[in-house]
């Protein structure tokens, strides 16, 4: 088992730059997620790690070893595909055995490890079935078993949950994380689902247009986004353009905001961002960071109520508790705590 390092990796498709100088260090046993919209380069990056395509420039290292010219079948990675990519003409047991057979593992050892893998993913009794006779969830488990049974140096996931229904997705997500921790295998995980990324990862890499936008632990990334793209892509965000007016003050078309003390602002245009759940109906008499907003929509979401607000033509979102009794058309004051406002690029 080894860590994974990407050094200024670049990959073009014709005139399009899919991956544009990605630098990333993944520690041994760490689970790192590449998160971003489609076309951001996350899958291309993953496929380069697997060896299905070569970088145009830059290096891919497993531990200290440069892997650029190593063909995929010699890399000892194991990938779980979005489509599962099971071998349709083989049984479950044969599918799981495939990687061991290719590695010429002795038959007895193969049997033992296949049995273990089957138990790990709870597929006992289905060994003789073919993929076509399994449900989506079961196929997913076979794909997972087939990957881990080879004891890979690096485990790769390409949107492994996107073909499962919502309930199962959450369950399998937990199982994958638990299994990955237990095996301690270095893992690169690709998804476009921010909830999944936050829930499963040690660190999340947000990618946009072939570049890394920000890297961080899930909570840090959520609480301290550096760019409006990250703020907006991870969860929901209210993003307002304004002008710095002093060290901790930003003037915007919808009012003046005092922002957290951790960063000194110069002057000139800035953007500020805060989460819908950080907006509160203002207590009477409050003065700081107050936004007078017209309620345009009230949406009951179970554990909270989502408000669509209009402030001087700018649309904002707020999440308030379900005790909220306002109605559409109401004009209300909302407060945004200054320590929850982030200045973003």
């Amino acid at each position: 088992m080894s860590g994974l390092r990407l050094r200024n990796v670049v990959r073009h498709y014709g005139g399009f730059t899919a991956v544009d100088g990605v630098d990333l260090d993944i520690a041994k046993g760490e689970l790192v997620t590449l998160l971003g919209p489609s076309g951001c380069g996350k899958t291309t990056t993953l496929r380069m790690v697997a060896g299905f395509m070569a970088p145009d420039s830059g290096d891919i290292l497993f531990g200290e070893r440069r892997m650029n010219d190593v063909p995929p079948h010699r890399r000892n990675t194991a990938m779980v595909f979005q489509s599962y990519a099971l071998f349709p003409h083989m049984t479950v047991a044969e599918n799981i055995a495939f990687g061991l057979k290719m590695r010429k593992i002795p038959a007895a050892e193969q049997m033992r490890r296949i049995g273990e893998a089957i138990d790990t993913v709870s597929l006992r009794g289905l060994e003789a079935r073919r993929p076509g006779q399994l449900s989506g969830g079961q196929q997913q488990r076979v794909a997972l078993a087939r990957a881990i049974v080879t004891q890979p140096d690096i485990l790769l996931f390409d949107e492994p949950l996107s073909n499962l229904d919502a309930k199962l997705r959450e369950k399998v997500r937990l199982e994958i994380r638990e299994l990955q921790k237990r095996l301690g295998v270095t893992t690169l995980y690709v998804t476009h689902d921010q909830v999944e990324a936050l829930a499963i990862s040690d660190r999340v890499v947000v990618m946009n247009k072939g570049r890394i936008e920000q890297v961080g632990a899930p909570e840090a990334l959520y609480r301290q986004p550096l760019t409006s793209f990250v703020a907006d892509f991870l969860g929901a965000a209210n993003i307002v353009s304004g002008t710095a007016a002093g060290d901790h003050l930003v003037t915007t078309p919808i009012g003046r905001f005092s922002v957290g003390p951790e960063r000194k602002l110069g002057s000139g245009p800035v953007k500020i961002s805060w989460r819908p759940e950080d907006m509160r109906v203002a207590a009477p008499g409050a003065e700081a960071n107050i936004v007078g907003a017209r309620v345009r929509g009230v949406v009951f979401c179970g554990s909270f109520t989502e408000l669509v607000l209009d402030v001087a033509g700018q649309q904002l979102r707020a999440q308030v508790d379900t005790g909220f009794r306002g109605r559409e058309g109401d004009l209300l004051d909302f407060a945004v705590p200054s320590d929850r406002i982030r200045v973003v690029a």
Binding site: T77, M79, A85
Partner: protein
């Protein structure tokens, strides 16, 4: 909702069921007229007793005998023709497979300019009238001394039947998801292992189906065989033609028809089985 309302479907659903039933019924009826009736009539005619003729308005022959079968097998070249046909067809099938393999792989798995045009071009021998091909190809065959030779028949049949092999094999290659190939490589399969454990087993059903179509096409080929093969070589269809042309004898023709039809139908059922293989069935929609 009351039980009554549940029991009687609303009018638009009733109409759809009615239409569907009608269409299914019509299809079955057409198929019967199309295939079962000719086959049935062929069997009846082949069993007519020459001493007890079958004539209208009798629906069935008054008595049955194997006299027609004896006659045809004694006095025609059908025996030799069966041997020729059933030697020719496997040779043509194998040659078609060998010649198709690289092209089918290229069309199925690689991307290149003019691929769609090539895909259509392949079908040309099927689309052109066989007689037209036969007439003009025969000149070439005579020029190269291939006429009246077994090799000439093999080459001619291969030309006419290979499109089926090529098309089906290409589709079989195309039906393999790239992910499955990537997964195999990812799990440690080198080039040879990929071919052996993934490509070959996964195109095998397509290969079987393509072989059956190629085999049947060769078996039933008449035009080219007639022009470049006879009289040196007789195949089952050319023997049949003898009975349909100058010496028209329906009872004898019926015997030869059955000899021709039964293996074809049996092979078609086999092909149907292979085409049903689950991971191919989706891909064969676009055949």
């Amino acid at each position: 909702m009351t039980d009554m309302a549940l029991a009687i479907p609303p009018p638009h659903i009733r109409r759809r069921i009615g239409l569907k039933g009608f269409l299914v019924g019509l299809s079955v009826a057409l198929l019967l007229v199309w295939t079962a009736v000719p086959l049935f009539m062929a069997v009846m005619w082949s069993l007519v007793n020459p001493d007890d003729p079958w004539s209208p308005p009798a629906v069935l022959p008054p008595s049955f005998s194997l006299a027609q079968w004896e006659y045809v097998f004694t006095f025609s070249e059908i025996g030799k023709a069966i041997v020729t046909s059933f030697v020719l067809a496997p040779v043509v099938t194998i040659l078609s497979f060998i010649l198709s393999l690289p092209t089918a792989y290229a069309i199925g798995r690689l991307s290149f300019r003019g691929k769609e045009a090539l895909r259509l071009l392949i079908l040309l021998p099927i689309v052109l009238p066989a007689m037209v091909i036969a007439m003009f190809l025969s000149r070439t065959f005579y020029a190269f001394g291939l006429a009246q030779t077994f090799l000439g028949l093999v080459l001619g049949h291969t030309l006419l039947s290979m499109p089926y092999m090529l098309r089906i094999l290409a589709t079989a290659f195309e039906a393999i998801p790239q992910d499955v190939i990537d997964a195999a490589r990812n799990l440690g399969a080198g080039r040879l292992e990929l071919v052996r454990h993934i490509l070959v087993p996964m195109v095998l059903p397509g290969l079987m189906a393509g072989s059956v179509f190629t085999f049947i096409t060769s078996l039933e080929e008449f035009n080219l065989t007639f022009v470049i093969g006879t009289p040196t070589f007789q195949t089952i269809p050319t023997v049949l033609f003898d009975y349909l042309g100058y010496h028209f004898v329906r009872t004898n023709a019926a015997v030869v028809s059955i000899v021709l039809m039964v293996p074809s139908i049996a092979l078609l059922l086999i092909a149907e089985r292979y085409l049903k293989t689950e991971y191919l069935s989706s891909a064969f929609g676009k055949l």
